[in-house]
Symmetry: C2
Subunit: 422 residues, 2 copies
């Protein structure tokens, strides 16, 4: 299973011929006076940071305590990073043309400071705003990320519920398993799920949350997902847990969700929907919950509109877009839904990613055996980069609870969410 999965569908391989330049001896000739002058300029920009930049002529350098090294292994890598660090760093690190000595998190942490200072201001309005992937584009995007092997995700996600979304650390020293259980309870309490109710789920992952709701809250769940591998996994899991009579896993686009339900829930799908499709999703949510239901959308978001990091968009998450709360309003305003509660648990995602990254590194040999070193490095950088994006406030995590505008069966306070139901 040693396949390089980094190449997104539809992008010609030649465009990202990593390794080829690395192999060219000419680019690893001794640094010139100009290379060294450029390095000096780059180091000035890094002054005060915990990162030391090196060229390819110091292969055995070790980072000092609390520091990290970024080593450019050839001239092309060095120049590309100077030109567009946000785009090229990821591919070059994946290809082994950049080496990191020390903690990758230190490098990514300093990279955010560097980008904030030196990168041109992101455009407020950008093309991503209008992204509206069709059903077939969505299928392709989701296949790219989620169908790379259930076994891969099982290596580093929580072991109980396979939640590939932000956990909730109700207590700061929880394990990732406990925090994912707490997240699911948190969502169910916000929704005040009661036994016998019907729940529609859009984007169900490996089925962990649907099964959790059925098992712990006695509800009937219909869960939609377009990832074939995830649906197969979910159905087997429901059988093993003897919950197949309560949970139906439907391999279909959320746009085909029909029927009527007491509650709608979507955890970590909105990022893939595309802002141009929000009104349609909003209409759907309103339709399925009727006049008296309620719903919750849990999604990565932003404080200000910005395109997704170019490398992540190309290599990891094609078609993904984290919306601002303003952009999310297209879900609610148009379809006469009323927002009851918004909670931003950004720092919980940093902690979640830390737990994932930690477990990922513990199992890195298994990942390498499944894929290859370039994949290992790309996913390491993606997890570390995402972690630091939440630490630096570049990404947010919003849970939005809603109900129809005129529904008066909503809870008066949120105290019930914080009452232990042991």
């Amino acid at each position: 299973m040693n396949r390089n999965r980094l190449e997104p569908l539809g992008v010609p391989h030649a465009e990202y011929d990593f390794g080829a330049a690395y192999a060219r001896g000419a680019e690893r000739s001794e640094p010139t006076v100009f290379d060294r002058w450029l390095l000096e300029q780059f180091r000035k920009r890094l002054a005060g940071s915990r990162v030391k930049a090196l060229l390819w002529d110091e292969p055995d350098a070790k980072p000092a305590e609390g520091q990290a090294i970024v080593q450019f292994c050839d001239r092309g890598a060095f120049w590309q990073v100077l030109l567009n660090p946000a785009l090229h760093f990821g591919d070059l690190y994946s290809a082994g043309r950049i080496e990191i000595g020390g903690d990758v998190l230190t490098v990514v942490d300093e990279a955010y400071r560097y980008l904030a200072k030196y990168e041109a201001q992101s455009r407020w309005l950008n093309k991503s705003r209008l992204t509206a992937p069709s059903v077939s584009e969505s299928r392709r995007n989701i296949h790219h990320h989620y169908d790379i092997g259930n076994e891969f995700y099982r290596l580093w996600l929580d072991r109980e519920a396979l939640q590939y979304t932000c956990a909730y650390y109700a207590e700061p020293d929880m394990t990732i398993e406990q925090a994912q259980q707490a997240k699911m309870h948190h969502v169910c309490r916000k929704l005040r799920l009661a036994p016998g109710e019907r729940v529609a789920e859009a984007g169900g992952g490996w089925g962990g949350f649907a099964l959790f709701m059925a098992k712990n809250y006695g509800v009937k769940v219909r869960s939609f997902n377009i990832s074939h591998e995830q649906i197969v996994y979910s159905r087997e899991w429901a059988q093993r847990e003897n919950l197949a009579h309560l949970v139906e896993f439907v391999e279909d686009d959320f746009r085909n969700l029909d029927g009527s339900y007491d509650a709608f829930v979507s955890i970590g799908m909105l990022e893939h929907v595309g802002a141009g499709n929000y009104e349609e999703l909003g209409d759907l949510m309103r339709r399925v919950i009727g006049r008296e239901g309620r719903g919750l959308v849990h999604s990565i978001g932003r404080d200000r509109p910005e395109p997704l990091n170019a490398w992540i968009a190309k290599r990891i998450f094609p078609g993904a877009y984290p919306p601002t709360l303003r952009e999310m309003m297209d879900l609610f305003e148009h379809s006469r839904l009323s927002i009851l509660d918004v909670e931003n648990i950004r720092l919980h995602y940093a902690q979640t990613l830390h737990a994932w990254l930690d477990r990922y590194e513990q199992n890195v040999d298994a990942v390498r055996a499944m894929f290859d070193e370039a994949f290992v490095r790309a996913w390491r950088l993606y997890l570390a980069g995402s972690l630091m994006a939440f630490v630096h406030g570049k990404l947010q995590l919003f849970q939005v609870l809603f109900a129809p505008s005129a529904a008066n069966n909503v809870p008066q306070t949120r105290a019930h969410v914080y009452t232990r139901v042991e």
Copy 2:
């Protein structure tokens, strides 16, 4: 003090010559066949409602149990309501050209259903969106509503803190006094105020919340208000409570707020700011809380953009506009603030208004002695109409907690808000 305060500044009296038409005998001549035919049509529209419409030829009619009567006292009143109920009903009722038999809340409740069915769909985008009152316009608007006499408001607001904003019924059977105390605790807990901290308040009313914060949380408060009568009242109150060393009341526009603070808070001011001024207010909030502060904005809002009811805008609250959450985003996005928590406590405002209306009716003779019957009726209708706007989901009440985008000193969970600190 028997003055008719209904006339907003700058509007020629002739435009609203209520009473004049009423006095004209011709319009109270026997209903014609056409009048009766129109009434029949109107009654068809009211079919199924608890309101019975009558013309001026049945002066002694009484409502049946659980019903209410709307009686048009002259032909002009009848026709005006048919043409534009949302605009004219208020003035005509105030002027005594419409009489209500039974509970005014029943009438307003049914009016919302009527308007939802028969009034033309409100425009999504409207001129109010761009309203940006200048400092001097703001002064005039605020004077119109808040400077009509502190004694008037003391007749029906809670007696402990004179809060003219939505209360928080932490327990459903609280008195209005308890619920206003609970509201203030709720806000202070969300802000996690600690002794010795500095708080900036924009729009401080009669000073009740500023004094509450100083007394109960040991903070130093600087509170801005452009209502002269309220500032005078606030300062005297601070003296009486021996809190003048902790609370400074500044008679000035929020736009002149300077200095740096640990927290910014604004309860019930945003409605008067005008959507065109939100970015300026956002910049100000960001500036005064620096890199590590936090803030809370509590405001009436909407699920969808809509102009304020025309009668309320003319008679009661000139220049007011309840924004949608989307519109509120101008406060935060532009100035790199991150939304941590939004809570919608719409139904608490219905309960608050019910308590106010109840107390208002208990003191209606005193109100009449201060003003006149037209004033009594206008404010009754305003309180009842606002109550039902919250019941019908036409108005919302949002509390928005925020901090600078990259601030990591934010609380991990909201559990502290729900922990009793007895």
